[in-house]
Amino acid sequence: MDFVNQLQRKFIDYSSSLHREGIVDDQFTQLRKLEDENSPHFVMEVASLFFEDCEKLINNMAIALEQKQGVDFKQIDECIHQLKGSSSSIGAMRVKNACIAFRSFSDAQNREGCLRCLQQLSHEYSLLKNKLQTLFLLEQQIVAAGGSIPRVH
């Protein structure tokens, strides 16, 4: 029991730090609130979809920015729009903000600026993925130890 309590406390602390660091915002909390007995892994499932989406879009933008004959900024803009939308839906605040910054360079058709933004975006994405995976691992450890995930109220 004490071990489970320790894990739960760790989970709560880690979760708080994600909010404090701006990695996730209130939307993430809203997703948590939707988790119940019927869908105990809802947040994990949505996060997995987001990771896939994000990787694909980052990749597409990297390719688009590499085009020697000219960058298709319209395509870049569409990718940013999609990514901004999904990061907003999952509560990935820093990724979302990176998209907003990216957009202004894309609008200005500034290739160098876009490349820098893409790097920043990749960095924020990696950070998010690592942190969320750590959080989900904690969840799994709690459940494996017979405890329940502390729910948001």
Partner: protein, 167 residues
């Protein structure tokens, strides 16, 4: 098992081309005890309703909630098609968008959308759907009762028949 009309879950058709948003809206709707069908395009929504074939529609949909920005048919295009259809124009439609563009919002509301939600959609937004659904259900029940009364009463039927003869 017999279900009273009041116990039947409302059926919501959700339309969004983004998988994450589709999952999210589906979860929000199910949490609010709606039956949900989620599709990824306006075209598929129309197919589901049975609008594209001249077949009668088998499914009963009580509300349609659609994203605005979708490739091909936008949410606005879908709204217009629904409102121009004699079979489906009375189904309440709600539009959603991640972009806060007042002219877009006004256009949807003016052309028949009951609500316009800004994404990410919250549970509090989904709570706003119920009055639109209850209003329709009450109206449908009133209409059903009226037509049932007419069938049951032979005197009224005879009176009407007489009227027809006079004409």
């Amino acid at each position: 098992m017999v279900m009273a009309a009041s116990e039947t879950k409302f059926h919501v058709l959700a339309v969004d081309d983004t998988l994450i948003d589709r999952k999210l809206i589906e979860k929000l709707l199910k949490t609010s005890s709606y039956q949900v069908t989620a599709v990824d395009s306006g075209t598929k929504a129309l197919e589901f309703l049975g609008l594209n074939n001249n077949d009668h529609h088998d499914v009963e949909v009580n509300l349609i909630i659609t994203d605005y920005c979708m490739p091909g048919m936008t949410g606005y295009d879908l709204l217009r098609k629904i409102k121009e259809s004699s079979s489906f124009k009375d189904i309440p439609v709600v539009t959603m968008s991640s972009d806060n563009i007042p002219s877009r919002i006004n256009r949807c509301l003016e052309d028949g959308a009951e609500e316009f939600f800004l994404k990410p959609v919250q549970l509090s937004d989904v709570n706003k759907l119920r009055p639109h659904l209850m209003k329709r259900r009450t109206q449908t029940n009133v209409n059903k009762r009226k037509s049932m009364d007419e069938i049951v009463s032979p005197d009224r039927a005879r009176a009407r028949y007489n009227e027809l003869e006079v004409k």
